[in-house]
């Protein structure tokens, strides 16, 4: 995005995909993290752990699901990798250690399987419940 603009700093960049309140949150995040060291994409991918969220970040992400997913979409659109990772990790943590029914309730997922299909899918995946 910035490359397309050229050198002129005064032109305002329209952000049609980001609403005002979400942008405010994004700016809050960026301000808090402005001194963070740069981590390359490979290093970030290698870790793949969702347990390393700081207290400030956790409080920042303590919002309703609507804001949460809008933040993820905004971070994706604005290409802010740390915020995107944080959002995804937060959602992943909401999903951990929940049964199928609890997951369904948390995200309001309608069950579109027929009873036979549901039984088949359950059998296909029952190997993971063994321990």
């Amino acid at each position: 995005m910035l490359e397309d603009l050229g050198d002129n700093d005064d032109i305002a960049i329209p952000l049609p995909n980001v609403s005002a309140p979400i942008l405010t949150k994004v700016i809050d995040y960026a301000t808090q993290h402005k001194d963070d060291p740069l981590v390359s994409a490979e290093e970030a991918n290698a870790k793949q752990s969702s347990d390393d969220i700081t207290e400030w970040d956790k409080e920042f992400m303590n919002v309703d699901q609507g804001t949460l997913f809008e933040l993820i979409l905004a971070a994706n659109y604005l290409d802010i990798r740390n915020l995107l990772d944080l959002g995804c990790k937060t959602v992943a943590n909401m999903m951990k250690n929940k049964t199928v029914e609890e997951l369904r309730k948390t995200f309001n997922v309608p069950n579109d399987f027929t009873p036979e299909e549901e039984e088949q899918v359950r059998r296909e995946n029952e190997w993971c419940e063994d321990h």
């Binding site: 793949q48 992943a92 250690n97 993971c128």
Partner: protein
């Protein structure tokens, strides 16, 4: 309650409020209804409504539940699922059809495989067996799976049931007829996960193979071909097929106890107290060469074309099977008990003269001599780590060998006689007098630098004990514990394909 709201109710403020609060779960499916109720309530606000409104606000926050698989682009959903463990991932696959599709994404499970197979996962600590097994193509569902080649390739394409065009992929060199399927990474993961789970929950099937008429002295197993070969005091060598659980062939020829054997895809080498080393061709199942030695052969080891054997006449013999060149390494002052080749240029030998020697194959000189080792019966060397056991002591000693210097860093003590042991990346198997002990290895690192502390910071935790009387040798593989008396006893922790 359907739209529109009956006008009689619309005027009764209090009733609307109560209806709203008590029926949140039902109302949420119909947002238009919520909207119209709220509109009415907010327009006719009075002072008493503030408690109601704050309650509404709090509840609305919980009411907002988004099935994000419809909201976020697929690559972001996959990114989120990438942070989950395999249990949660299997549960999300049961939510709905779209969830199922995304949760079974091949790249997700490919990453899980890379994190867990043949190495210890940094997150959950599990290590899954490599299982380099080639499966035959049964129906159209399974196809040959070589995990090694798959790990090295970047992307595996998944065959969906709707596709009629079969995509060709450079990894897929094994196929039968004109159907080319690639096993989904999820199945690769689940097969190995189930085996590891069997180990942890001690679920096994005990099978016995009958045949030998005298105690078995040596056992070797190849996971690829599922072949087990046993040598016995009855002078025969038996080749067992573990897929059919039957005897494939009895090899006769030795005239005394078979003390040691080793095989690869083409040949079997066996040593015996009749002072000969025999090489058998595994395709024709017959002996193709006999090396006559001066004295009884006690142990052997070969890597590719270099064959090392130890003898009761105190010497270590090195033979090159390609050139035919044979030379002896002399230095021990008692019978040699175990030999092992390392990196094709060094040999380790242990002997009843209470020393362990490391020789260089190029110069035929001793590089290291460790004395006072107390008659080592058997040792295992792997990646700078040496484990020894002696028949006179009830313990396993661990040494760190680097730069031709040794350092004893650990001793595992036992109450009983140790008869044999076997170690692989994940487990340690110890055959004691009366039972078999299986230890789980944790900590340390597999590919440790020689001087790092990580190499020796390893914990052994006993996880399993199996009763056993009379076995003299044992063997550990990814999914089996094998021990031999007169019969071969196999504790199978594997997964039955018909399950």
């Amino acid at each position: 309650m359907d739209l529109p709201i009956p006008t009689s109710l619309a005027d009764d403020h209090l009733k609307l409020q109560q209806l709203f609060i008590t029926n949140f779960e039902n109302l949420q499916s119909n947002s238009l209804q919520i909207h119209s109720i709220l509109k009415i309530l907010l327009q006719k606000r009075n002072e008493n409504d503030f408690t109601f409104l704050s309650q509404v606000f709090l509840n609305l926050k919980n009411l907002l539940k988004i099935n994000f698989i419809d909201v976020l682009p697929i690559h972001l959903c996959v990114k989120i699922l990438g942070y989950l463990d395999h249990k949660s991932l299997c549960r999300t696959a049961q939510l709905s059809k779209k969830w199922n599709l995304v949760s079974n994404d091949d790249s997700l499970w490919h990453r899980m495989c890379i994190q867990h197979i043949d190495k210890r996962c940094v997150r959950c600590g599990w290590c899954l067996p490599l299982l380099k097994r080639k499966r035959k193509l049964l129906d159209t569902d399974l196809r040959e799976n070589d995990t090694e080649s798959h790990k090295n390739k970047k992307i595996c394409q998944q065959q969906t049931t709707n596709e009629t065009k079969h995509t060709n992929n450079e990894t897929n060199q094994h196929f039968v007829s004109n159907k080319k399927y690639l096993m989904p990474w999820k199945k690769v993961f689940s097969d190995r996960q189930r085996i590891e789970s069997n180990w942890r929950s001690r679920k096994y099937v005990l099978k016995t193979l009958y045949g030998h008429s005298a105690p078995i002295t040596c056992l070797k197993l190849d996971n690829d071909s599922n072949i087990l070969i046993s040598g016995s005091e009855d002078t025969t060598i038996r080749i067992w097929d573990l897929t059919k659980w039957s005897l494939r062939k009895v090899l006769t020829g030795h005239t005394d106890v078979v003390t040691c054997l080793q095989f690869d895809s083409t040949k079997l080498v066996s040593g015996s107290l009749d002072s000969t080393l025999r090489i058998w061709c595994l395709n024709k199942m017959e002996c193709v060469k006999i090396f006559n030695h001066a004295n009884k052969i006690t142990c052997l080891h070969f890597v590719d074309k270099v064959l090392v054997s130890g003898s009761a006449d105190f010497s270590v013999s090195v033979a090159n099977l390609l050139t035919g060149r044979v030379f002896k390494l002399n230095g021990h002052t008692a019978a040699v008990t175990t030999v092992q080749l390392i990196e094709s240029n060094r040999v380790i030998s242990s002997s009843n003269d209470q020393t362990l020697k490391i020789w260089s194959l190029d110069t035929q000189e001793q590089l290291l001599n460790i004395s006072s080792m107390n008659c080592i019966t058997n040792f295992h060397f792997d990646n700078y780590k040496l484990i020894t056991h002696s028949r006179f002591e009830n313990n396993l000693k661990f040494f760190h060998i680097f730069n031709n210097k040794e350092e004893n860093f650990k001793v595992l003590k036992f109450k009983n006689y140790i008869l044999d042991f076997w170690i692989d990346k994940v487990r340690l198997l110890v055959l004691l007098d009366g039972f078999i002990s299986v230890f789980q290895i944790s900590g340390g690192s597999f590919e440790s630098e020689p001087s790092s502390k990580n190499a020796i910071n390893v914990e052994y935790q006993q996880v399993l004990e199996l009763p056993d009387f009379g076995s003299k040798c044992c063997l550990l593989s990814d999914d089996k514990v094998v021990c031999g008396k007169n019969d071969v006893l196999i504790y199978d922790f594997g997964v039955n394909e018909n399950n």
